[in-house]
C-alpha cells in the first residue's frame, strides 16, 4: 500500500519542478511555451556533460540549472519577446520552432542513445515495506524544499507580491511603478532553472535522452492547467493528481471481474487517462481546480 504512495510521490517529483516553472511563467507571459519541457531536456544533458568532466554531481546539477536558466532567458529575450508582439498564437508556434531546434541541436551533438549518469549503485532504502533509491529520495526532498521556498517567496516577500501583481494586471502593476521587465526576466530565469534542475534530477534515474522533453509535454501541461496557472502550490498539486491517477489506476486488479487471478489495465493507457482528466478539467473547470489567480481562458 505504502509502495503505491511512494510511487505516486516519485512520479510527482518527476513532474513537479518543471510544472512549477511553467506555471509561474505562463501566468506572467501568457502564452504556452512548448519549448519549456525542452529546457528540462537541455538541463539534463548539460548536467551529464558537466558531470562527465569530473565535476561532483551536486555541483554539476547546480551549474546545469543555472546555465539552463540563462538559456531560457536568452531565448525569451531574443525570440519570444519579439514574437509576443504578434500575439500568443504566433508565440506558441514560435515555441514549436524553438523546441525543434533544441531537440535537433542535442540530437546532433549527443546522439539518440540515452546517456546514463555514473551514479554508484547503492542498495535501495526500505521504509515500512516500500522501496525507493537514495537518488529518488533526494529528488523528492529537493522538490518539497523548493516548493516551500517558493511559497514563502510568493506570499511573504515584496518580490513575490510584485510577481503576483504583474500576473494579475500588468498595466496597473506597471503604473504603480513595478519594473515589469526586470520581474519578468527574473521569473523567466528562475523558471528555466527549475526546468533544468527538474530535468537533470529526472535524468539521474532514467538517463538523459532526447525524448525526455516530448515525453513530459502533456503531463506537465496537464498538471499546470489543473493546478491553475500562476499558482505554485496548484502546480505541484496538479502534478500530484496526475501522478496519483497514473499510479492508482495501474494497480487496480480487475481480475475478479474477468475470472482470472490478475488482470491489469495496460500501463500505456494511463497517460491517456491523465489527458482525459485534462480535457475534462478544461471543459468544466478551465481556471484550474483551485480557481484563483490568472483569470484568462
Amino acid at each position: 500500500m505504502l509502495q503505491f504512495l511512494v510511487d505516486a510521490l516519485l512520479r510527482t517529483a518527476d513532474l513537479a519542478l518543471i510544472t512549477l516553472g511553467l506555471s509561474m511563467l505562463y501566468g506572467l507571459i501568457k502564452f504556452p511555451n512548448i519549448a519549456h519541457v525542452q529546457y528540462a531536456m537541455c538541463g539534463a544533458f548539460l548536467a551529464y556533460a558537466i558531470n562527465s568532466t569530473g565535476v561532483p554531481l551536486v555541483v554539476a546539477l547546480v551549474l546545469a540549472s543555472l546555465l539552463t536558466g540563462l538559456l531560457t532567458l536568452v531565448i525569451q529575450l531574443l525570440v519570444f519577446d519579439r514574437l509576443l508582439k504578434s500575439g500568443p498564437a504566433i508565440a506558441m508556434i514560435g515555441s514549436l520552432a524553438v523546441s525543434m531546434i533544441l531537440v535537433a541541436a542535442v540530437l546532433g551533438m549527443a546522439g539518440s542513445f540515452p546517456r546514463m549518469f555514473s551514479v554508484p549503485y547503492a542498495e535501495p532504502l526500505v521504509i515500512a515495506g516500500a522501496r525507493l533509491s537514495k537518488t529518488q529520495l533526494w529528488f523528492v526532498l529537493t522538490t518539497l524544499a523548493l516548493l516551500a521556498v517558493f511559497v514563502v517567496l510568493l506570499f511573504h516577500t515584496q518580490v513575490g507580491r510584485a510577481m503576483r501583481a504583474l500576473a494579475c494586471n500588468p498595466a496597473l502593476a506597471d503604473a504603480s511603478g513595478l519594473n515589469a521587465t526586470r520581474i519578468t526576466n527574473g521569473v523567466t530565469f528562475i523558471s528555466g532553472m527549475l526546468a533544468g534542475l527538474g530535468g537533470s534530477m529526472l535524468a539521474l534515474s532514467t538517463g538523459a535522452h532526447v525524448n525526455l522533453g516530448y515525453d513530459l509535454l502533456l503531463p506537465v501541461f496537464a498538471a499546470a492547467i489543473l493546478g491553475g496557472l500562476g499558482n505554485p502550490i496548484g502546480a505541484v498539486a496538479g502534478a500530484l493528481l496526475i501522478a496519483l491517477t497514473e499510479t492508482v489506476v495501474t494497480n487496480i486488479n480487475f481480475g475478479p471481474l474477468f475470472g482470472e487471478a490478475l488482470v491489469f489495465l495496460p500501463v500505456s493507457y494511463i497517460s491517456a487517462a491523465s489527458f482525459l482528466i485534462l480535457l475534462l478539467a478544461l471543459l468544466f473547470k478551465p481556471y484550474g481546480l483551485f480557481d484563483r489567480e490568472v483569470r484568462r481562458v
Binding site: 514574437l83 506558441m92 524553438v98 535537433a104 551533438m109 546522439g111 480535457l279 478551465p286
Partner: protein, 295 residues
C-alpha cells in the same frame, strides 16, 4: 534514381493534401489545431481496419473521412469556451489519446505492430506503371484539393472564416454562428487530411502509430507557416521547401558521410530554423495572404 524521385514527389503530394487540410482551419480560420495529425491517423487506420476486417479496402477512404468529420465536430465543441492556446493544448491531448488507443487496442488496430499488407491502389497494374498511376492520382488529388481550397477561400465560407479569425465580434454581429463556422472548418480540413491518410496507408502498405506523433503535426504546421498561411500557393510552396530539405539531407549524408543521428538532427534543425526565421521576419510566410482590394 527515377524511382526515388517518384517516391519523393508522391510523399510530397500526400503531405500537400494534409497541409491544405490544415490550412482550412489554421490559415483561413486561425484555429490552432496542434493535434491535426489525428485526422491523418484516422484516415490511415480506417483503410487499415477495412483491410484487416476483409471489407473492400476502398471503403476505408470514405469511412476515414466520415470519422474525421466526426472528430472535427467533437473538437469544435471542445473549443466552445476555451481560448486559442488552451484549445491548442487540448487538441494535442486528443491526438495523444487517440494514438494511445491505437497502440493498445490490438484487436482493432494491430496494436504496436500496426496493420500490414494493405494493398496498393493499382495492384493489378504491372511494372513501374502502378507507381506512376498512383503518383498521378496523388498529384491529381493535390490539384483538386488546391482548387477547392482556392474556391473555398474566395467564396462566402472562406470570407466568413477569415472574418471570424480577424474580428470574431464583428462576425457574430453580422449574424454568423461562430460555433458552426468552426465546426465546419474543422470537419472540412479533417476530411481532406483523412483522405491523405488513406493514401499514405496505401502507399506504404502499412498502418502504424509512429505516424501519429505530435512531431508530425509540427511538420505540417511548418509547411503551412513557411509557405504562407491562408494562401493555397503559399502552402504548396511550404510543402516543397520542407520536402526538399527532407530529401536533400540523406544525399548530403551520403556525400559527407556523417551518421544517421546527425542527419536526423539536421533535418529537424533546418526545418526549425526556417520556421523561426519566417516567424521573426516574414510572419505572413513567403507568399503572404492576398487581401482583396476593396475597389
Amino acid at each position: 534514381m527515377y524511382d526515388f524521385l517518384i517516391f519523393t514527389v508522391t510523399i510530397a503530394g500526400i503531405y500537400a493534401i494534409m497541409a491544405l487540410g490544415l490550412n482550412v482551419l489554421a490559415g483561413y480560420s486561425g484555429l490552432l489545431n496542434f493535434g491535426h495529425i489525428a485526422f491523418a491517423g484516422i484516415g490511415v487506420y480506417a483503410t487499415g481496419i477495412a483491410h484487416a476486417r476483409g471489407w473492400p479496402v476502398l471503403v476505408g477512404i470514405p469511412l476515414g473521412m466520415l470519422a474525421a468529420m466526426l472528430l472535427g465536430w467533437a473538437m469544435a465543441r471542445l473549443g466552445r469556451r476555451l481560448a486559442t492556446d488552451y484549445w491548442a493544448i487540448a487538441t494535442l491531448a486528443v491526438a495523444e489519446i487517440l494514438r494511445t488507443v491505437a497502440l493498445n487496442e490490438a484487436e482493432l488496430t494491430g496494436g504496436a505492430n500496426g496493420i500490414t499488407g494493405i494493398p496498393s491502389l493499382f495492384e493489378s497494374v504491372p511494372g513501374p506503371w502502378n507507381q506512376v498511376y498512383f503518383t498521378t492520382l496523388v498529384l491529381g488529388l493535390v490539384a483538386v484539393a488546391a482548387f477547392l481550397s482556392v474556391r473555398l477561400g474566395d467564396g462566402r465560407f472562406g470570407r466568413a472564416l477569415r472574418l471570424m479569425r480577424e474580428q470574431p465580434a464583428l462576425a457574430a454581429c453580422m449574424g454568423y454562428n461562430l460555433q458552426t463556422l468552426k465546426s465546419h472548418a474543422l470537419m472540412c480540413g479533417g476530411a481532406i487530411t483523412a483522405l491523405a491518410g488513406s493514401l499514405y496507408a496505401h502507399y506504404f502498405n502499412f498502418a502504424g502509430t509512429e505516424f501519429m506523433l505530435a512531431a508530425e503535426t509540427f511538420v505540417l504546421w511548418t509547411m503551412v507557416m513557411i509557405g504562407g498561411i491562408g494562401r493555397t500557393s503559399g502552402v504548396l510552396l511550404g510543402v516543397i521547401v520542407v520536402q526538399m530539405v527532407y530529401a536533400f539531407v540523406p544525399f548530403l549524408r551520403d556525400m559527407l558521410g556523417f551518421g544517421s543521428d546527425v542527419a536526423g538532427s539536421l533535418r529537424l534543425g533546418m526545418i526549425g530554423v526556417i520556421l523561426l526565421c519566417c516567424l521573426l521576419w516574414r510572419r505572413e510566410g513567403l507568399l503572404p495572404e492576398k487581401l482583396r482590394n476593396p475597389a
